[in-house]
Amino acid sequence: MAEVKTYREALREALVGELDRDENVVLVGEDIGVYGGTHLITDGLYDRYGPHRVIDTPISEGGFVGAAIGMAMAGLRPVVEVMTWNFSFLAADQIIQNAAKVRYFSGGQVKVPLVIRGPNGGGVQLSAQHTHSLESFYGHFPGLKVVAPVTPNDAKGMMLTAVRDDNCVIFLEAGALYGTKGEVAEGDNAVPFGRARIAREGGDVTLVSYGRQVALCLAAAERMAEDGIEAEVIDLRSLRPLDEETVVASVRKTHRAVAVQEQWRWFGVASEVAAIIQDRAFDDLDAPVERVSGAEVPAPYAHNLEIAAFPSVDQVVAAGRRVLYREEG
């Protein structure tokens, strides 16, 4: 059974389910309680679970993320909201130096069952300091898991998996899509990490993406279909671990690939995807792997400039045509 819900409702449903299931689950963050959550993900939960399980914190990312790491090491399962991922830089020392590594440098004596979640990426005119896509930043560090669901169903299912995971999960929500709707499976629909989703099947070219850009790739695929090009769209969903098999299998079928990301091109996920493809499917490729990325500038404010700073359907279509040698340069 499935019901149509928003991304926001799907997330809340997962949190409620886990709070009900396990009293060690606590929520931590700024204005998640009395205020109801800046993005209303935790709306109503303070009244339902009380101040000791839905813990409002001062504006103090390093402090409360660090304290949540300590809670996790001590047996709780905190889900921390960073109001936006942009603020996580203030907690980066805690996330990278403690949450990601303490299991290793303690010789396996401790674990950190912690979820840090919040909206990632841009698209809502917040300008430079409030617009980042941090998947490759966090994906760089062994010890962290990094996921980026785009459908409401995955938002719920991956949150269930994240809360139950014994490691620190960086949960990157598609902030611009909180209000979008989709079918969400009833009950326990836990979605495992490390398995990509084929969002659209096709045999001519593989478009690899995740997060908000999956929608872009699907739109591009529709456009290409008008010219008789059938694109396969892969939604990675989980970036660390990353499902290499699904990407490689698709490229072995289509022989062409475009990796699409909102973040900057250098050192990004798309580069990693391109490297994986050339490592594992070099002989299957009929064209170099293309990358479509954000412009190499801090995010601008003006609407037209912001649109220009992020990948567009036109760019994805053009890249798809290039790997098919249907378009010049």
């Binding site: 402090g63 709780l76 440098f105 303690s106 004596q109 490691n167």
Partner: protein
């Protein structure tokens, strides 16, 4: 006094069937806190720590210990006094000057030394080294290398301990240098906030050894009363003479009992001094004078305690020598154990990255055979 001495001899003689110091830090059934027998036992533990640290320095210079090495020499009374108030189930967390805490919680000196040597029998199997000692079964939850970075963790421990309905507390050690970090101020603010309704049983134990590396407290902050800084966050606080074991002990017993009962945080600034260099690479100590070091050496916690024990008749020359000899033997055995321990197996490189059964995807695949993929 003969009676005291006889009891003393039983405790300090070569072999300790009771095991390491830590088994005796849980004083259920032991004599009254601060009685001569207890003080002699803590003296024995402090001598062990001093002897161990001195041996570390020699091993470092011989190249047997890599990385950084931070010694507790001169500060022994602080951890010895507070860990005497440790109860099973409590949590201890500290920075990188952590050898003493491990030894005082009862970790085998051999396992601690083997860790410093980077061997498989080390406390964390060669994964952490000097700065990252853990023995969670004994209450030691690390050993952290970023100054101040561990403080929020300790506050989180305390919240979780009370959330889960226990009466355990967190002993959170930090240096004077850590008090200038944002992590300290953010964590102290949370502790005060959560502690206001009894939900954050943490004791902040500031090991004020007067210097953050080579920068003195007055050169680090215009407000040099470090204990008073806790007042800004609604946390009660006091100072204690960290060179005087008995003073620390009295303070620790009282403060830990209060925090355990109230669930409210408390801070103690222990005034102490690092008689050793900051790290084993700190050769010249340009930041402090010989006269200053000498003046603190006069208040060496081991000398002060020994003097007091002799005055009270709890130890005599023979007992002091026996304690020293016992520590030397124990440390010699630890060095021998560490030397004999093998390096970790190379497969350990990829273990302990993630908890759970997940295949670690960062691990390189087995090399392809001749036929390729």
């Amino acid at each position: 006094m003969a009676k005291t001495k006889e009891r003393t001899d039983k405790r300090v003689g070569g072999k300790h069937p009771g095991g390491r110091a830590g088994e005796r830090t849980d004083r259920n059934g032991a004599g009254p806190v601060g009685d001569p027998e207890h003080l002699v036992e803590l003296y024995r533990q402090m001598v062990l720590v001093r002897t161990f640290e001195t041996a570390c320095q020699r091993s470092f210079r011989k190249g047997k210990i890599g990385g950084y090495l931070h010694l507790y020499t001169g500060e022994e009374a602080v951890a010895a006094g507070f860990l005497s108030a440790f109860r099973r189930g409590d949590r201890v967390i500290t920075g990188y000057r952590d050898h003493a805490h491990a030894l005082l919680l009862g970790c085998e000196p051999g396992a601690v030394m083997a860790e410093l040597y980077g061997r498989r029998d080390g406390l964390v199997r060669g994964k952490g080294g000097s700065m990252h000692l853990f023995a969670v079964d004994r209450g030691l939850w690390g050993g952290y290398g970023i100054v101040g970075g561990h403080i929020p963790l300790g506050v989180g421990f305390a919240y979780a301990l009370r959330y889960r309905g226990t009466d355990h507390i967190c002993q959170l050690y930090l240096g004077d240098g850590a008090m200038q970090t944002g992590a300290f101020h953010e964590a102290a603010n949370l502790a005060g906030l959560w502690g206001a309704d009894g939900r954050c049983p943490v004791v902040f134990i500031v090991e004020n050894n007067q210097y953050g590396m080579g920068t003195s407290v007055p050169r680090s902050t215009a407000m040099t009363d470090l204990a008073a800084k806790f007042g800004a966050y609604g946390i009660d606080h006091e100072k204690v003479d960290g060179m005087d074991l008995e003073a620390v002990l009295d303070c620790a017993e009282r403060v830990t009992r209060q925090v355990r009962e109230s669930g409210r945080p408390y801070a103690v600034e222990a005034m102490t001094y690092r008689l050793a260099p900051h790290g084993a690479g700190d050769f010249f100590e340009k930041y402090r004078s010989k006269e200053e070091v000498d003046s603190w050496r006069d208040r060496d916690p081991l000398v002060l305690l020994e003097h007091r024990l002799r005055e009270g008749g709890a130890v005599d020359d023979a007992a002091v020598e026996e304690i020293a000899g016992g520590a030397r033997d124990e440390v010699a055995a630890a060095l021998e154990f560490a030397d004999a321990s093998e390096p970790p197996p190379i497969e350990d490189l990829y273990t302990d990255v993630y908890a759970g059964a997940d295949e670690y995807l960062g691990k390189p695949a087995e090399p392809a055979d001749e036929e390729g993929r």
